[in-house]
């Protein structure tokens, strides 16, 4: 496990080389296997709807603007149902359109924006409300509904830059 090479002996230390290679292989295996098993595609709603078959059985991450009126909480079955509208994932495009709060508002108010229905099993998070940005992790089902296993929310107020 020592990484100093005993140059003074002028002899190839095979034990050290084989040991180091084995460790390196184990580390790379650990990194690759855990990356592959938890990796998700981060796509927009437009990209998802353009090619739903592509992502059918894969875990994907989708972000969108929450439509406030659509939030329904069912405390009996502990589920939350809501709709999100497509928005750009590009930082620059968001900045150009006047910041995150404006981009979210525009997405919610755009009648032509693609929308998907979401079902989330769990507690309604505090930040889930109109015009917040929802980042969902889960699968897009055959019934055109997104089953979210994980729900992350960002509040537009956090996006206001102080002292423009």
């Amino acid at each position: 496990m020592t990484e100093e090479n005993p140059v003074s002996k002028k002899k190839t230390n095979w034990k050290l080389i084989i040991g180091s290679l084995a460790i390196a292989a184990a580390v790379i295996y650990l990194l690759v296997s855990s990356t592959l098993s938890s990796m998700q595609y981060f796509i927009t709603i437009d990209e998802l709807l353009a090619n739903p078959e592509n992502y059918r059985d894969k875990t994907v991450r989708v972000s969108g603007a929450v439509i406030g009126d659509s939030i329904i909480v069912d405390t009996d079955s502990n589920t939350v149902v809501f709709t999100i509208a497509n928005m750009s994932a590009d930082h620059q495009a968001i900045a150009d359109s006047g910041g995150m709060a404006a981009a979210l508002k525009a997405a919610v108010e755009d009648p032509d924006a693609n929308r998907i229905n979401v079902i989330y099993h769990g507690v309604k998070p505090d930040l889930l409300k109109a015009e917040s940005q929802a980042i969902l992790t889960g699968k897009f089902g055959e019934d055109q509904r997104f089953e979210a296993d994980e729900l992350l929310l960002k509040c537009p107020t956090k996006y206001e830059t102080a002292g423009k």
């Binding site: 496990m1 990194l31 107020t157």
Partner: protein, 679 residues
């Protein structure tokens, strides 16, 4: 008036920093003591100047001066004083000023104790520090200034942002502010960010010594000794900052956990891991004369990782739940990060010679070498580095994948758990093995026997514990074995040192001995924390329940009874608090009050859990969903049972105490204590 004062002193501070850099360069080139002394004066004057600026912003916050944009967005009429004070670091611009102020405080303390004419490391170190301070000053003066105010434009409902009178020159003063983001309204806001800042900033000082040392006398490694108090200080405050953040998340955010593997958290964890590795490299260097290469490289990498952590938190370019938003500051931070990394790479390349090991390796066979303490130290350092790389990969993968393929690939919490979990377990094992080994010598027969006995005792105890408590699986018992084995070896090392010391008859504890016990206190803390983490990671129970008033329901072996609900209207919204009694085997364990607060200004609800803690575990209740305000309504909760988690916090306190002891020890002039280093 206060705004002008604050703004002007920030400007003066910036120019003083620039002047200091120039003065020291002139002093260095022309060998002029006068100029060098003048440079030192510049280092000293920054703290008073920035104190005035910080004091000005604080005064504005306390006086609710809503004409100032920063005050409007972080404070409101009902906020208690402690939250008004912590509003100082509640948003980007204020926290940048606060950062500069803390930086100038450290600079003041350092410059006061340094003689610019005698200390060869002073000029370059001072230039480096002043340049860093000047950079953050640029950000909070010209890019994101906390003192900008609202001025009326003449059109109703609009306002202009400017420091000095603009528009119609009539101030626009809102009657109430927005207040701080509700999730930040917690006592944690008072101490968590400053603790991390202290840790982050101290790194610049240890880096300054090394960079200066590498430039002027690469063969000399006295910088390591000079940097020692700063590095231990960094280490403690990074630990404290991370722990306080976890506790805050546990108490407020209401998801039943303490660590979410968010990029910002991971970004702060990396410097902590690298700093831990660095401290061990220095110990190894002290004991064997080797590990010089590790120490030099790790110190630079820690510094780089701190700048990276600042970048992750403040640039808004890495998507994270608790980063600052993307802002004009982002591009400047990108340049800053690039410059820092460039500096590190240049130093690593041009000062390669300085990283060569000077001490010869011991003549041992390969198998013998593996048994030495050096090998285990190297293994531990390597493990910490690999974990850091895995963490870095987790933060960067989304950006890298987007650059290469155009589609962002993200990885979640399970990536971190799967990839770093086994490595942390190995690290724990290495930590457990180290007390049984010797520097430069393989294990003796006696040590092998001790090793066997301790391993066996641990195995038998874990098997017994498993049978009694019906623990599931194989993984958990294995991890518990590693943990118990570490406990036993630490106790063994402790005991044998006490016995050896009492035999040698010395009545007074030497500084070396204190350092030895302090470091074992830190390790004992880590073991206790690991126990708590194992409990919550492996054995957490989560269950959604519905409680009907005054009817008891059994969850995870506890009987829960909803005894009351109380809705109240406050100045900022409304709150709903419930009272739940927790019984076990007919005995009342305690009463908890989970509640929900709704904040009208932010249209946001926060859920504060009710937690009943005991040494065996926490019962943690969160109210879920929308609730009726009627006192007799039934309520839904998610109940968590988090076994052993209290030990995480107890271990944290032990770790901090050990760290403090080490820090105060490092302030004393150390005498060589080879006898203890030999342990």
């Amino acid at each position: 008036m206060i705004v002008t004062l604050g703004y002007a002193s920030m400007l003066f501070a910036f120019f003083a920093a620039v002047y200091g850099i120039l003065a020291i360069i002139i002093g260095q080139v022309s060998h002029s003591k006068v100029w060098l002394r003048s440079g030192k004066q510049a280092c000293l004057v920054l703290f008073p100047l920035l104190s005035v600026a910080t004091g000005a912003l604080l005064t504005l916050l306390i006086r609710n001066d809503y004409q100032v944009d920063y005050v409007f967005k972080t404070v409101n009429n009902f906020q208690p004083l402690y939250l008004k004070i912590s509003a100082l670091w509640g948003k980007q611009s204020g926290s940048l000023l606060f950062w500069s102020w803390l930086f100038s405080l450290f600079l003041f303390i350092w410059a006061l104790r340094t003689d610019p004419e005698k200390d060869r490391l002073f000029p370059t170190a001072a230039i480096f520090l002043l340049a860093n301070l000047a950079f953050t000053s640029v950000l909070h003066i010209w890019i994101d200034n906390p003192f900008v105010r609202y001025w009326q434009t003449g059109d109703f409902g609009t306002a202009i942002l400017s420091i000095f009178p603009a528009g119609t020159k009539i101030p626009e003063i809102p009657s109430d502010g927005m207040g701080m983001n509700p999730l930040l309204r917690h006592f944690g806001m008072v101490y968590h960010p400053p603790a991390l800042y202290l840790g982050f900033i101290a790194v610049f000082f240890s880096a300054a010594f090394e960079i200066s040392g590498l430039i002027h006398s690469p063969s000399d490694d006295s910088w390591m000794k000079k940097a020692r108090p700063w590095t231990i200080f960094t280490w403690i405050f990074l630990a404290v900052g991370l722990i306080l953040g976890s506790r805050w998340a546990y108490d407020v955010l209401g998801w039943g956990g303490y660590w979410g593997w968010d990029p910002v958290e991971v970004g702060a964890l990396i410097p902590f891991l690298l700093m831990t590795a660095y401290l061990h490299a220095v110990i190894g260097h002290h004991a064997t004369g080797r590990f010089r290469r590790w120490a030099s490289v790790l110190s630079l990498l820690t510094y780089g990782s701190i700048v990276f952590a600042v970048f992750v938190t403040r640039s808004g370019l890495i998507s994270s739940v608790h980063a600052f938003s993307a802002s004009p500051v982002s591009s400047f931070l990108s340049v800053y990060l690039a410059a820092t990394l460039l500096l590190i790479v240049i130093l690593l390349l041009t000062r390669r010679q300085a990283f060569k090991e000077t001490e010869k390796e011991t003549e041992l066979s390969f198998a013998e070498k593996l048994q030495t303490k050096e090998s285990l130290f190297t293994a531990g350092i390597l493990l910490l580095c690999i974990i850091s790389v895995f963490c870095l990969w987790g933060i960067l993968l989304p950006t890298i994948s987007e650059l290469i393929s155009g589609t962002q690939i993200t990885i979640g919490v399970d990536y971190y758990e799967k990839s770093t979990g086994p490595l942390f377990a190995l690290l724990l094992l290495v930590m457990g093995l180290i007390p049984l080994t010797n520097w430069k010598k393989p294990l003796s027969r006696k040590q092998w026997i001790t090793f066997g006995i301790l391993a066996l005792v641990a195995a038998i105890s874990v098997l017994a514990f498993r049978t009694i408590n019906n623990l599931p699986g194989i993984l958990l018992p294995v991890v518990l074995w590693v943990l118990l084995f570490s406990v036993l070896t630490v106790l063994y090392a402790w005991g044998s040192t006490v016995i050896a010391n009492s035999r040698s008859g010395s009545k007074k504890a030497s500084p070396g001995l204190i350092r030895f016990f302090a470091s074992y206190l830190v390790h004992a803390g880590i073991i206790l924390m690991a126990f708590g983490i194992i409990g919550i990671e492996f054995l957490q129970i989560e269950e959604p329940v519905k409680l009907i008033p005054n009817e008891s329901l059994s969850v995870a072996g506890f009987d829960l009874t909803l005894t009351g609900s109380e809705a109240a209207w406050t100045d900022e919204g409304d709150t709903l608090a419930t009272t739940v009694e927790i019984h076990q085997n007919g005995k009342l364990l305690g009463t908890v009050r989970p509640h929900q607060n709704y904040y009208t200004t932010y249209c946001q609800q926060t859920t504060i859990p009710g937690v009943h803690s005991s040494l065996s575990g926490d019962v943690y209740l969160i109210m879920t969903g929308s609730q009726s305000s009627s006192p007799d309504a039934e309520r839904t909760f998610t109940v968590f049972y988090n076994p052993w988690v209290t030990w995480l916090w107890i271990g944290s306190i032990v770790l901090c105490l050990g760290g403090l002891l080490l820090f105060f020890g490092s302030l004393r002039k150390p005498k060589v204590s080879a006898n203890v280093a030999a342990n």
